[in-house]
Symmetry: C2
Subunit: 247 residues, 2 copies
């Protein structure tokens, strides 16, 4: 059984201090993952204060490309430092973590689709390793290189590896309604719109509306939860908000 676990960039980094890891949060996440059965697990982390400022400085986004190799190297280097820290921390906690760099493993088509070559990741899983990926800069047809987000990679990995469950560890305990309570399930985008107040509230929810929309397209049910629910999620329990049909 393959499981994809996303560690949000704002969970593992200090979003207000450039290129700074949130050591306590990362240690908690590493311990929770190490205590679980990690067979078939793939981890993806976001960019947080490593990826976003470096991409913004260079005006590179998922749609705005760069043809300057120095931009590619700079964004990729920053993300590589975070990847090394995350991978080493997971390794120290006892997870057989090995790094995988999306820039080396995929590209974006002219239509904007993410093509990720996952045979290598499948071989790592077969050999008992836990591949760790991250949001990255990505060669892109006709645009040089753009940004690929951790969320895009999660959806691509789930489809290619035929994953059974997706977990998205966020800074909130799930998708919250107007009262701040966790919505247990969202099976259609219409429900999310009611709860999230449409795309106008994207900033307020930290991009939650967009995240819900993309996870509804995933090939496996996705759970959005907080740091404390990594353990329950990996043990197979329901956690936070389930997005998509019942498994």
């Amino acid at each position: 059984m393959t499981t994809i676990l996303k560690l949000g960039g704002s969970v593992v980094t200090d979003k207000d201090r450039r290129e700074t890891v949130d050591d306590a949060a990362l240690a908690n996440a590493a311990d929770a993952i190490a205590e679980a059965d990690t067979e078939g697990l793939v981890v993806v982390h976001g960019g947080g204060s490593f990826g976003h400022p470096n991409a913004a400085d260079r005006n590179v986004s998922a749609t705005e490309g760069t043809t300057d190799a120095a931009d590619v190297r700079a964004i990729h280097r920053a993300m590589g430092e975070l990847l090394t820290t995350v991978t080493d921390e997971l390794g120290a906690a006892g997870v057989p973590a090995v790094p995988v760099r999306p820039l080396s493993a995929g590209y974006r088509t002219v239509a904007g689709d993410v093509e990720l070559s996952t045979e290598t990741i499948a071989m790592m899983l077969e050999e008992g390793f836990v591949p760790i990926l991250h949001g990255d800069v990505f060669a892109t047809a006709g645009r040089g290189a753009t940004i690929v987000s951790g969320d895009e990679l999660v959806v691509a990995l789930a489809a290619e590896l035929d994953a059974e469950r997706i977990g998205v560890c966020s800074t909130v305990p799930g998708v919250l309604d107007d009262e701040g309570d966790v919505v247990p399930t969202i099976e259609r985008y219409a429900e999310a719109e009611t709860v999230l107040g449409g795309s106008g509230s994207t900033d307020v929810t930290g991009g939650m509306a967009a995240k819900v929309e993309s996870l509804l397209d995933a090939t496996a049910p996705a759970y959005v939860f907080g740091l404390e629910d990594i353990g329950p999620f990996l043990s197979g329990a329901e956690a936070g908000t389930r997005i998509g049909p019942s498994p």
Copy 2:
């Protein structure tokens, strides 16, 4: 037209000092590459004093695998430091160099064959970038992870990308005969055996016999030459020893 250029590990590193770059040699190589037309160029560098001692410490080779993720991380980290140095130096010289990590892009089958996913590299070339790869640790069916050499990657890249020429920049000006003169062409292994004295002299020739044998299997003519011949090779001239049929 696609060209694969290998920079030997013993060219770009100081083989006698662990994890030490040969700054002067690397600067020369970078300048020669920057002066050439780099459209369609892929560069691969060897491990030198970064890769070999780290692999040997952990008893990992092309055939001896490791199932310990810490071994994978350690060997890959050392090679990543050399890759960053090589890529930044090429970038500083004006080459649109972007890093590609073989661990993320391929694996070895149970039969020992190298499977490298090259769609991403082809996309980088299309977008005008010069991908830089390196000998690395590689997920391997049934054996955890083994070492993939720069030479193996060169042969795999040439086949997958339908390259027209391969250049192997070595510490010697070509394959040398008994008198120390450069042999201009080797078209069949029988000729190499005469010149190199068979596999018994592998140590003396620094693995040249094995290199010649693998390059004879390549899908494009390969030239083995010294640092001073990078420019002539990239400009389309014959350089050092040609291995394989006339182009």
